[in-house]
Symmetry: C2
Subunit: 491 residues, 2 copies
Amino acid sequence: MLKNYTPAEIPGKTEMKQRISAARARLYELQMAIKDSKLPVLVLFEGWGAAGKGSCIGRVIGDIDPRFYKVATKAVVAEDEARRPFLYRFFKEIPENGKFTFLDGGWMEQTCQEALLGSLEGNAYADRIDSIRRFERTLVDNGYLVLKFFMHIDRKEQKARIEKLLDSRSTKWRVSDYDRWQSAHYDQAMEVYDKYMTETNAAIAPWYIVDATDAKWAQLQVLETLVANIDVALQNSAHTSPLVPNVFQLLDMPKLADIELEGKEIDEVEYKKELKRLQKKLGKLHNELYRRKIPVVITYEGWDAAGKGGNIKRIAAALDPRGYEVMPIASPEPHELNRHFLWRFWTRLPKDGHIAIFDRTWYGRVMVERLEGFCKENDWKRAFNEMNEFEKELSDWGAIVIKFWVHIDKDTQLERFTYRQNTPEKQWKITDEDWRNREKWDLYEGAIDEMIAKTSTSFAPWYILESVDKKYARIKALKIIIERIEEALDK
Amino acid sequence: MLKNYTPAEIPGKTEMKQRISAARARLYELQMAIKDSKLPVLVLFEGWGAAGKGSCIGRVIGDIDPRFYKVATKAVVAEDEARRPFLYRFFKEIPENGKFTFLDGGWMEQTCQEALLGSLEGNAYADRIDSIRRFERTLVDNGYLVLKFFMHIDRKEQKARIEKLLDSRSTKWRVSDYDRWQSAHYDQAMEVYDKYMTETNAAIAPWYIVDATDAKWAQLQVLETLVANIDVALQNSAHTSPLVPNVFQLLDMPKLADIELEGKEIDEVEYKKELKRLQKKLGKLHNELYRRKIPVVITYEGWDAAGKGGNIKRIAAALDPRGYEVMPIASPEPHELNRHFLWRFWTRLPKDGHIAIFDRTWYGRVMVERLEGFCKENDWKRAFNEMNEFEKELSDWGAIVIKFWVHIDKDTQLERFTYRQNTPEKQWKITDEDWRNREKWDLYEGAIDEMIAKTSTSFAPWYILESVDKKYARIKALKIIIERIEEALDK
């Protein structure tokens, strides 16, 4: 689509002036509408080196109140970003509801650069395109306006601009090595850009090619596209997003009611022996994971009082504290609620070689948020797929993903609640909310059955930990974690 | 103090077991007391390479619920940390109220390593010690319990441990280059450690040397010290912290009432010409700052409707959006309120070579928080010095710090409020709170006079922008910024 792009004619000076000032005035008005209707707007600027991305962003934000936008430069991959999944460095920048984020360079630049320099090929490239499509789609599904501009200049123009920049000491540093390389390989880059843009030109987030030969003209094109898109997005605010069909291989999972809890127990002596042996083994494997930079994400969900905390403790005790972190997940804070529901998990991902243990997870979306009405029906229905896609990103990144459901029956829960209530130093562990949730046991059971059925993918399966005997559940968890790590290390 | 340290005798096996189990039980109880009384606890582990910091942290956290602590490894300075002031990477890790942070290596390790390897000497070393003392003191003054452990092993023991680690492929990577260097220069390191510990051994945050020859014994020493300190800190919770005298050179500043506002105006033609000229100049200087990696922090405070927003806009318009960020400061979010009041500013500092413009600032502490009772009297009284110390860190880091007070008189404010109220597209800019604040004009004026008098340091002075004519104020701001940048570039 870039190759056969023909720029429109540049308007005359007077017309340009009028249109720019009209679009600026409109954008100024719209910022309040965006705030009021809580529309988040993500504006991506991609394009040729020296096409003027930075100065164009500068002109556009001039009309927006600084409280309503952020600008992030994504040209260079920082050290902490390089140690996380590809989308991490972009997901963390998504705007809050009612605000703009302007990105100077983004997922296109990184992808095409890697493709051009040969570090991203074949299946990896195809997976990357899939990731990007899903990323843009889940943002739009969650109410984001995603705008993608490609700032275009022709080969001659680019060459001239780069030469001019290199000419002066005060602007020389602005030309990166990659800019030079690109200028010398303009046609080759054109092929890769064109292919990329064709592959990612979705109706929900189309590409806008901006003729960047003239800075004012470029500003006008961006402003008018921005304004038109915001107008449409504001009309869409009450809209629900279509569910997309599952494309991942799902494992056959039992319903909770069919899980045998009786007899899943271990005697004290055997437990102590096994615990010691398995923790020692896990500790050694942790070293090896660290050395080979393999990340691990372990998630815990389960009935209240099922024994999640004690289970996590036995895993943690085996690990070097410098290489793992337990992430206790409570209700979202305001700045978290104001973003895509997965944002607070994306930003909590471990570095490669590290282990993250989530004590409660993103699955809150299809349990408590679903049943308590904290999100809309359309939101939790879409979430099954969104969470599978999220875990696919983790798995493609190389992470071992292990999801535990810590399971007990209703009678066992009652016993433990009563014990907690009657034991002074345990009372903080039991709240009125726990009792209220217990009344909804059957509703939860239905939701959990649906969750486990729809999100047990081959790359991120659920494991049931029968925890009427907590010791049994701990040993089982250790064994599963060890098995999964050994499997990954053998590859 | 390290050089003449004599370890106590290790208790016998039975006694050790009993004491460990008593201390663990007590720590388990105390975690709830900590939560209830909102005590934040920062535990720093320093010490010799291979002394067992990691495994000791692992043993200690085993008794704490994962919701109540975080572990952070600070051995390696990350890229984004290296581009910010020294304390940034530690300040960002401070715990929330009611929680623990365990640091594996910290400001001692980094400082002594730099001193040993020769990159920190003379005045820079002395300034560093000052920074560290102030950092620890301001934490304690703000209710933090700060515990500093030094894990000690002798030369022979260290040598043996490192050799053992190097012996096996699975543990070899754990020995850093610096560990090897340290082992080869044990005596030299001892000198530097001893000096550092003597210099930073404050009553409010003393050093605890831990005999780390035996892992269980080390655990016991740490646990007992931890428990004893928490017991004391819990009794201190209602305590107010002493004010410390100002040690910085203060500039003579006028009272607001003495500032001449009349005649501070500029005509339209002159304004346009000057604005264009100065913005162009600032744009060029911004390039130069970026190239030379000099950071700039510009802060705006001022009366409501004084014209802060428009002033900031004229500065921002001159800058490359990739190199600056406007930080709009609203009321703190819960996770911000739960930490030292400067935490949300420390974590928003720009990278070197970048400009941060704060639209409202940390000075809220001595204005709105003081007058509305959002903090205690002792808190805002201490804040003058705490903010000076904060800005001293910025200045020592190499930042240009420019603080603006945008000034108008009471009548001008009334005119602007009325205009906003009567102009539909401006109404969002005026709230009931603005009218309520206006009623307290005189109280605010007194607080502001005190603030400007007490925080106009030679390294971070206040500048008054007379803004009855907003255009005059914008030109004045641009000129001040340009002057300060030119001054810094000339150095």
